[in-house]
């Protein structure tokens, strides 16, 4: 059978790409081989449009043990401890079937972390939905939230935070990004690189079904008969099996029997086996009749392309096979030797005693196409906010409106569906600037924050890229931790469009600049392209997941104001930048202007000074100023403790809205004892940092002198009503 043009297209390959395949094989491919190439050469596996740009990101420093290129990134947090983490998207499946899509997204990212030898200790997520008035939003939100909870709760990993945003740009293309963080002994980290010849290749976990097999291939001639039976199906998550797989793998990892291990993620058996062989510069031979199958009569094509969940591939020391099998038997999981490593550097698949595929590993992994796609420099929107008469807006009305908007409203409707404290190491749950999770049995903890700002990125991708890294850094500092490293998930439209590619390139340039300046390396990540419907792309949405460290549990702080009479100081200069602010969006529905600029020098200086103050025990609570500006951040601090604040009018600003809602970057609000004011001032002055006293903590009432006065309880009510109202329709 000769591969025809239609089959090539249906496999998402270009004609030139198929010609290259023929050249590499020295012959026509068969359908199975075509399927394997298409899986390996698609955007998702080969990063063909993004690789040359991702290379620009800084990925190393003295704490990075493993940067991008493995299942997850690994960093050193002192002693023998390592933190292993990654974020990944599951956008398209979640739009089709929100519960299962989100659930399997969580399952997949957990496997990426525990394949490397880590016990997962926390889950985070970033979810973006369309406008609340869109007819699908409620259903999608409900499904995604219960899917995330359903999986994480069952496996028993606390979901400690994340972000939820709404914007009509996601109406037909929601974003579901899940992040997992694990803890391992740094001397016991497992990699996917195969070593040694004739080593058994072991399949463990769930059986293989016809899940998620690329729909496009269904039309191909071979599948016409029984086509009903062979329809692709949505992947269903089985968190129970995941939990068993997790425990079995960690138990096996205690022994020295694993040579290499790799989860079966996208493109399942294909990508996992090829990745292991490719990294080890070896060949691999599989007997597909041995693959544990869930359905009858599964073809090699289906087995190789199935995306069934909760499966792993392990290359074992052959002397340890019996012992290993015993562990998997104990956990009632399949454990089958399905092949061996070879010295041929080829992927050889046998089925019914025939060779059904034979491809050089190099061709699949290293020869995958790399493109430098055309890209257009994004046009930056200029600030043009003069036409709005800010004076007409009463500041207290704006405050309430923003606090009760979907993006700013309290998310406990969501987080109450997540078990946030199982494992009993969660020190700070969601709701703060960053989650804090203790390293089990130790006097140290990590902080985790997930951030994005699609509005900033859409109006100025480079500045937005920079900003989002800084915001993440700021969040980690605000709880008192030292920022260490990040993972990132880059959600964009089609890379084949020069405008989208331009957004991508510039976002990366911005991220790179910030990461380099802050010594905040990228250790893992994921790229999700083609987030578009009817050829309309989503806003460029890079999501950053950052990790910080406390080397001592006494330095952890939160945003709850502590004592009546304490002062609140704003650190960092307010210039009154309202372009792309929450204020403009919520009050005027305006998406205009450029985002606030980032001054990296100030950013770093301010952040380090805050850490310095925390280390000297001079700060009783801290909160960064981000979306919504000073007033919203003050309100959040007040609601966190249910204490009130007496806010001062600014000295220089003529317009209160401009001062209180501006989103200038690099700012923090800190609470200090009156007695420490002198000390704090001298430290800030010495570092050349702009600061001013903005408020004093008082009981119950949140007020701006001579302007407005509201009960904190009232703020709280307004902040908590949106989700309940939205979901009451159900």
């Amino acid at each position: 059978m000769k591969i025809n043009k239609e089959q090539i297209e249906k496999h998402g390959l270009k004609l030139e790409e198929y010609n290259k395949i023929k050249e590499l094989l020295g012959r026509e491919a068969n359908l199975l081989e075509l399927g394997i190439f298409s899986a390996m050469w698609n955007e998702h596996c080969s990063y063909k449009s993004s690789k040359i740009h991702l290379k620009k990101l800084p990925t190393k420093n003295n704490i990075v043990i493993q940067g991008p290129g493995e299942n997850a990134g690994v960093i050193d947090i002192g002693d023998d401890d390592a933190i292993i983490f990654k974020i990944e998207s599951h956008n398209h499946p979640s739009f089709i079937e929100p519960y299962q899509g989100a659930a399997t997204g969580v399952g997949g990212i957990l496997r990426d972390v525990f394949t490397m030898g880590a016990r997962p200790i926390a889950l985070m997520n970033s979810i973006h939905f369309g406008s609340p008035t869109n007819k699908n939003t409620q259903n999608l939100l409900n499904g995604v939230v219960s899917g995330i909870g359903g999986y994480g709760n069952s496996v028993g990993i606390p979901t400690v935070g994340g972000e939820t945003k709404f914007n009509s740009t996601y109406n037909e293309n929601i974003l579901v990004n899940a992040m997992a963080v694990g803890h391992a002994n740094k001397n016991k980290i497992f990699y996917s690189k195969a070593k040694g010849i004739n080593k058994p290749v072991v399949y463990v976990g769930s059986k293989t079904g016809r899940d998620g097999i690329h729909g496009a291939t269904m039309a191909s001639a071979e599948f016409d008969e029984n086509s009903e039976e062979k329809k692709p199906t949505v992947q269903v998550g089985d968190p129970f099996t995941e939990k068993l797989l997790l425990e079995a793998c960690l138990e096996l990892m205690k022994e020295n029997s694993i040579i290499s291990i790799q989860d079966m993620g996208a493109a399942g058996l294909t990508s996992s086996s090829i990745e292991m062989a490719s990294k080890g510069k070896l060949g691999i031979e599989l007997d597909l009749n041995k693959v544990p199958c869930r359905e009858n009569n599964m073809s090699p094509y289906e087995m190789m392309l199935s995306e069934s969940q909760e499966r792993m591939l392990i290359i074992l020391d052959e002397k340890k096979e019996k012992k290993a099998k015993k562990i998997f038997d104990k956990w009632d999981l399949d454990f089958v030797v399905i092949g061996k490593t070879t010295e041929t550097n080829r992927l050889v698949l046998n089925f019914d005693s025939k060779i059904v595929a034979d491809i050089p590993i190099r061709a699949l992994a290293d020869e995958a196409p790399q493109y430098e796609r055309k890209w257009n420099k994004p046009k930056i929107k200029k600030n043009n906010l003069n036409k709005y008469d800010l004076k007409k807006i009463k500041i207290e009305d704006a405050l309430i409106k923003i606090l009760s908007s979907p993006d700013h409203s309290n998310k406990s409707w969501i987080t109450d569906q997540y078990d946030q404290v199982v494992m009993c190491d969660t020190i700070q749950k969601s709701g703060g600037d960053a989650a804090v999770v203790r390293v089990h049995n130790k006097n140290k903890a990590i902080s985790i924050s997930v951030d994005s700002s699609a509005n900033y990125c859409s109006s100025d991708p480079k500045s937005g890229g920079k900003q989002i890294v800084c915001e993440n850094w700021r969040n980690l500092i605000s709880v008192g931790s030292k920022p260490l490293a990040i993972t990132n998930c880059l959600n964009f439209g089609s890379p084949e469009k020069p405008d989208v590619m331009g957004e991508f390139v510039e976002c990366i340039n911005g991220m790179k600049e910030a990461c380099e300046f802050l010594n905040f390396p990228v250790v893992s990540g994921n790229v999700s392209f083609y987030n578009e419907t009817n050829s309309k792309s989503i806003f460029p949405t890079p999501v950053i997941g950052g990790i910080g460290l406390f080397d001592n549990l006494n330095k952890i702080i939160n945003m709850k104001t502590k004592k009546v009479g304490n002062l609140i100081i704003i650190v960092g200069k307010t210039l009154g930048h309202l372009g792309q602010s929450s204020f403009m969006r919520e009050i005027y529905s305006a998406n205009e202007g450029s985002p606030p600029e980032i001054n990296l020098t100030n950013e770093k200086n301010n952040g380090q000074s805050i850490l310095n103050l925390i280390n000297q025990n001079l700060i009783t609570s801290c909160h960064d100023v981000s979306s919504g500006g000073i007033l919203i951040s003050l309100a959040e601090m007040s609601m966190a403790s249910m204490l009130g604040l007496k806010i001062l009018r600014p000295k220089k600003f003529t317009d209160l809205n401009e001062y209180f809602f501006a989103e200038d970057q690099g700012r923090y609000l800190i609470e200090i004892e009156v007695d420490n004011l002198k000390k704090v001032e001298s430290i800030l002055k010495k570092s050349n940092i702009f600061y001013e006293v903005v408020a004093e903590v008082q009981n119950d009432i949140f007020e701006l002198s001579k302007t407005f006065s509201i009960k904190t309880e009232e703020l709280y009510k307004n902040n908590n009503k949106w989700f309940k109202k939205f979901n009451a329709i159900n």
Partner: protein, 80 residues
């Protein structure tokens, strides 16, 4: 008028519950069991005399709320 609706997972869709249930039954000694699949069941009681109208309405309920047609199939039968 009463209807019974059974909702089952499509054939190739993984049924984690059915899998565990069937394994448990086997462990309990039911060796001749070949498979169990688990689904949902609804009893729906309608104040409606026209049976074809009622049937259509139940179908609508299934399509709009009770069934996720991406992974599930359903069957409606009149019971009273």
């Amino acid at each position: 008028m009463k209807f019974a609706v059974t909702v089952t997972l499509k054939k190739d869709v993984l049924d984690p519950q059915g899998k565990v249930v069937s394994q448990t039954l086997k462990n309990m000694g039911m060796n001749n069991l070949s498979q169990v699949r688990q689904g949902k069941f609804f009893e729906i009681d309608l104040k409606e005399k026209d049976s074809s109208k009622a049937h259509n309405q139940v179908k609508e309920m299934c399509e709009k709320l009770l069934v996720n047609q991406i992974i599930e199939d359903f069957k409606i039968s009149k019971t009273e």
